[in-house]
């Protein structure tokens, strides 16, 4: 299933300048793996060595923080939008 992944400005250089990418998968985690397969440099930026998200990376599915859903195991549907953003704003 094709999902659109929106990339923050800080990650675009590692994705050839693109603001978004299309990636396949049935969960958020699979979509991210597919994204890393396209742009290898993104893996280290987004995930730690254990494959979990780094602590200052937020991932949203259709605007909802995936930590309120099922984390990386959250299922995605065709045409969904996944957004990656830095967590250090605000306050």
């Amino acid at each position: 299933m094709a999902v659109t992944v929106k990339l923050p400005t800080q990650l675009r250089a590692a994705a050839g300048g693109a603001a978004e990418a299309s990636a396949d998968g049935s969960t958020v985690g699979e979509v991210l793996q597919a994204l890393y397969a396209q742009h290898g440099e993104l893996r280290d930026r987004i995930a730690g060595e254990d494959g979990e998200l780094r602590r200052f990376v937020n991932v949203y599915l259709k605007g909802e923080d995936i930590r309120f859903l099922d984390g990386l195991a959250t299922p995605v549907a065709d045409g969904d939008e996944v957004t990656i953003l830095p967590a250090v704003a605000g306050g």
């Binding site: 930026r45 250090v88 605000g90």
Partner: protein, 411 residues
């Protein structure tokens, strides 16, 4: 102590002093790093004491390249010895830092002063923010004073007092349907797409956050160049809380203060307490929450500096506590009735946590405690509405005597 770089708090990667807030390598937050002061402590102290009665007297410890000034003077707020409050709490040395005395009645004037000054140095022409309320007013006012357009993004259900007071300054106010965390996410996206816009708490956040250090500098100077034993301060994103400690630490390192960091106690509302929950659970992972509290100015469910706040509380022998909405209302009343300072819900949270700590015996009666009252009660009037009675009478002396008699019976 000139600023020399932005440094990642996670991996220490250094960046130039630009409008950046995120480490491109690991997404960690960037913080301003300084060279050690070139003057000795007596010279630094003399320079501070000769400075203006605003936060710019601490310019040696702020990240500006040129002369520090702003059109809306901020800071140098009263530090009030609160003996009647102390007595009620069984303590002897309690001080209130009264941040309602700032131009827009909250500590946010400090962070905005620094962010705006730096934004102008960096060539920005528009200011913006994601706000839980107090920041909206501060950004709108400081932008107006500087003659810059301002965009203020807030949760659409914010208190009317905060919306109207920000709007009076002529800022463009955008109410976003959702929580503050939704507003923040949107602003993080927008800030990447709008050149020329300085989002004070997004792309210029490292400079903005430095403004909160002046809360520590002023407190220490007003205490006669001494450190308090304990601090109670509100925690929303955790930025103020961690920067107050950093301010004290910088002055210890510079030889301006002798001693150790105070025990740092963070205050949260039970209806939005991701940091207090992490502290209680013994972890530094702050699981995000959906806020449900009257303390809207602290209603950040996904706190950016949460892990650092937990760590700070733990290593200084402090804590992060939470209090219910009823305790918050009682805290507002307690502070108002014993000090004459009317605070908003966030100050109710801080006062209620101070009371809770005193009651639990966590504070030795002889310890010197400073509580940071960060905002004004006039901005959250609904919180006290139920506790205030209005006796309506005709304009006749007998009518007054009649209610006086009733009150005597009740008393």
């Amino acid at each position: 102590m000139p600023a020399e770089a932005l440094k990642c708090k996670e991996c220490s990667t250094a960046y130039p002093l630009e409008a950046r807030y995120v480490c491109e390598r690991c997404f960690g937050p960037l913080e301003v790093a300084y060279r050690p002061p070139s003057s000795d402590a007596p010279a630094l102290k003399r320079r501070i004491q000769a400075g203006p009665h605003t936060l710019w007297r601490y310019a040696d410890f702020l990240p500006l390249q040129g002369p520090a000034r702003s059109a809306l003077p901020t800071g140098w707020t009263p530090l009030v010895r609160a003996d009647r409050l102390a007595e009620r709490l069984g303590l002897r040395d309690v001080w209130i830092k009264n941040e309602t005395a700032n131009p827009t009645h909250s500590f946010k004037d400090r962070v905005v002063s620094v962010a705006l000054a730096r934004a102008l140095e960096l060539g920005f022409d528009t200011v913006a923010c994601a706000s839980t309320g107090n920041l909206a007013g501060a950004v709108a006012a400081h932008a107006a004073a500087a003659g810059l357009p301002a965009y203020v993004f807030i949760p659409a259900d914010l208190e009317a007092e905060k919306i109207l007071s920000a709007g009076a300054y002529g800022a463009r106010i955008v109410g976003v349907r959702g929580t503050y965390d939704d507003v923040n996410r949107l602003c993080t996206e927008i800030s990447g797409e709008r050149d020329g816009w300085a989002f004070v708490n997004v792309n210029v956040r490292p400079y903005y956050a430095e403004g909160s250090k002046t809360l520590a500098f002023e407190t220490a100077e007003q205490l006669g160049w001494e450190l308090p034993d304990r601090v109670v301060a509100p925690v929303a994103s955790g930025s103020l809380f961690t920067k107050v400690a950093r301010g004290f630490q910088e002055w210890i390192d510079a030889g301006l203060l002798a001693g150790e960091l105070p025990a740092m106690h963070g205050a949260q509302a039970a209806g939005c307490s991701p940091v207090a929950q992490a502290f209680a659970a013994g972890t530094d992972v702050c699981r995000p929450v959906k806020p449900d509290t009257i303390a809207k100015s602290l209603a950040i469910g996904n706190p950016a500096d949460g892990p650092y706040a937990v760590d700070l509380a733990r290593r200084t022998g402090g804590s992060v506590e939470s209090v219910t909405d009823d305790e918050i209302r009682a805290g507002i009343r307690l502070l108002a009735e014993t000090t004459g300072i009317f605070t908003e819900t966030a100050g109710g949270v801080t006062t209620a946590v101070l009371a809770k700590l005193a009651e639990s015996g966590a504070i030795d009666p002889d310890e010197r405690v400073v509580a940071y009252i960060t905002g004004d009660g006039l901005k959250t009037l609904d919180a006290v509405r139920d506790g205030v009675e209005l006796a309506q009478i005709d304009a006749r002396f007998e009518a007054f005597e009649a209610i006086e008699a009733v009150e005597e019976v009740v008393a």
